[in-house]
Structures are given as C-alpha cells and as structure tokens.
C-alpha cells in the first residue's frame, strides 16, 4: 500500500475537483440516509419488543385486569411502518 501511495499521481484539485467531490458526497449522503432510516426502524422495533416483553411478564405474573381477558388498560402499540403494512413478502 505504501508503494502504491508513493507512486500515486498528485490529485489535481482544479475545476473538476468539486464535481468529483460532489458525486462521491451524494453517494455517501444516500448511504448515510439509508442507514439512518434503518437505525430508526431498529429503534422502533426495539421499543415495541420492550413493550411486548413487559406485557408478557405482566401476564405471566397474573397482573392482567381479569383472568382470561386482556387488560383494557394495557395497550401494546406495535407500530408497523409503511414497509411492513405494505407487505414486502411476509
């Protein structure tokens, strides 16, 4: 790698430089936006999973409102994003 870098041509950052930088920045921004969207989805799923785990624990401990019935007060809001409601094959 050192040999490669030693023999590398100098970067002529003239007029073309801003266009090249622009193209690579656009790619990077798209990638970052995608990863951010996926991170937000993951956070939402984690929150939903926590709610479900809490509810399951409560039910196991017999803390539901009435035996054999779901608690009206306890509501699990598993949010499903557009991609889930749209299907995507599952």
């Amino acid at each position: 790698m050192v040999a490669l870098l030693a023999g590398a041509p100098a970067l002529p950052l003239d007029e073309a430089g801003k266009y090249v930088a622009g193209a690579y920045v656009v790619f990077l921004v798209l990638l970052v936006v995608y990863v951010a969207i996926m991170a937000a989805k993951l956070q939402r799923m984690e929150r939903d999973l926590r709610d479900l785990a809490g509810f399951a624990e409560n039910r196991a401990n017999g803390e539901t409102a009435a035996p054999g019935r779901g608690s009206e007060g306890q509501s699990i809001s598993v949010s499903s994003g557009p991609s889930e409601s749209r299907g995507g094959g599952r």
Binding site: A8, L11, V26, L30, L49, R69, G70, I76, G89
Partner: protein
C-alpha cells in the same frame, strides 16, 4: 435467519469500499482525455451495473417465487428491486454531475444510454404503487412477481439495444475494439465493482433482516394478543 453472517459481510464491505476508494484516488492514473473528472466513473459505472444486475436478480427471485409459491422468494425479489432503485437514484445523480462537468449539461435527451436508464428506473419506480395497489398479500406477491420477471427481462434487452445504438457522446467503459481500459484502470474498476456488489448484497441482507425481525415481532404480538379461554377481547387494535 437473514442476519446470518451479516456482521462479517458488513466488515468485508467497509474494507472493500475503503480499498477501492484508495485505489481510485491513489493508484489509478489520470485519464488522458478526461483528466480528474474520470474518477466519477469508478463510482457511477459500478453503481449502474449493480443496479441493473439487481433488477435482473429481482426477476430471478420472482421466478423462484412463482415456481415454489414460497413467499420468502417474493421478499428477496422485493428487496432486490428496492435496493436497485436506490442505487438507480445514485446512478442518475452521479451521472448528471459527470455530464455537467464533461458536457456542460445536467442531462442530454438525445443520448440513448441516459434515456434508456431513466426509462428502466421509471419503470421500476412504478413497481411500488403497482404492488401496494393490491391488498390481498397472495395476489400482491404474485402480480409483483410477474412484473419483476417482465421488467427483469426488459433490462438486458434494453442494454443490448443501447449498445447497438450509434451513440456519439457517451463513453464506453468496455470498448469492444481498440482502446479499452488499461490494466491499472481496469483493476481499479473491477475492485470498485466488487465493492459496490458487496455493498448491494449487504444492504439487501440488512433490509431482509429488518423485515424478518419486524414480521416476527408482529407474530409475537398476535400470539400474545390471541383470545384466551374465557375471554375474547383483543389487548390492542391492529395498527395498520
């Protein structure tokens, strides 16, 4: 299930992207004709190839879905097309930036390569409204697979038609006669293509893993929400 090997794949992708970028800026020589602006091609062309191959792969998965009836193949097909559409956006934007720098215009309508890619991109952009206009999941998957197969077959035909067209302005990376890429440029280009392909595979697996986890979460919710003996109320309404 989908997440198996995702960590290793992600690391390999990051390493491959870093290595290919190093090759682009520190190893590949400057193009005698275009100079520094040619560096965009190491990003633009691999993205375009990966997007087009991804569309075809989506069609292959759709064939598997229709043959087997296994909806996991439909998921693979959907995510492949989804990721290729995102890559397609990057292709159009990076191509436009190169066109502005090289030709002085963001877009040229009489250039077959540009217009044909735009047609393919717009065709796949209709995949989403087409798919989600159908509510029944079985029909949705089936119709979407038919679309993916038909559109996937159109992609190579479109590519061949463009190669046969007598374009005067858009450069050809792989010349069929004299004047192809020299060795160092070709090596860099292939490294970029491999890195971009790895990125596509990683993102497809990531998306599938997220969708699978989301689906399992919904199943868990339904299981917990199921009417228990002696009572039939739901603990929460279905959120659509």
């Amino acid at each position: 299930m989908y997440g198996k090997g995702l960590r290793q794949l992600s690391i390999a992708t990051v390493v491959a992207l870093a290595a290919s970028l190093s090759l682009v800026f520190f190893y590949a020589p400057l193009d005698a004709d275009q100079g520094f602006i040619q560096k965009i091609f190491y990003l633009h062309v691999p993205l375009a190839i990966t997007a087009l191959v991804g569309f075809v792969v989506g069609g292959v998965f759709a064939i598997l879905h229709l043959r087997s009836g296994d909806r996991r193949w439909d998921a693979w097909s959907y995510v492949s097309i989804h990721m290729s559409v995102i890559f397609g956006v990057a292709v159009l934007v990076t191509g436009s930036i190169w066109a502005k720098a090289s030709w002085g215009h963001w877009w040229v309508w009489d250039e077959p390569t540009l217009v044909s890619f735009l047609i393919v991109f717009l065709m796949y952009a209709t995949y989403y409204p087409f798919r989600y206009a159908i509510e029944d999941p079985e029909r949705q998957g089936r119709y979407a697979s038919v679309f993916a197969i038909t559109a996937g077959a159109f992609v190579p035909l479109n590519f061949i038609a463009v190669r046969m067209a007598q374009s005067l302005v858009h450069p050809r990376v792989f010349a069929t006669a004299n004047g192809g890429l020299p060795g160092s440029m070709m090596f860099t280009f292939l490294a970029c293509l491999a890195a971009t392909g790895l990125l596509w595979i990683t993102l497809v697996k990531l998306e599938l893993t997220a969708k699978s986890a989301s689906g399992q979460l919904k199943r868990l919710r339904r299981a917990l929400d199921a009417p228990t003996p002696g009572g039939g109320s739901r603990i929460a309404p279905e959120v659509s």
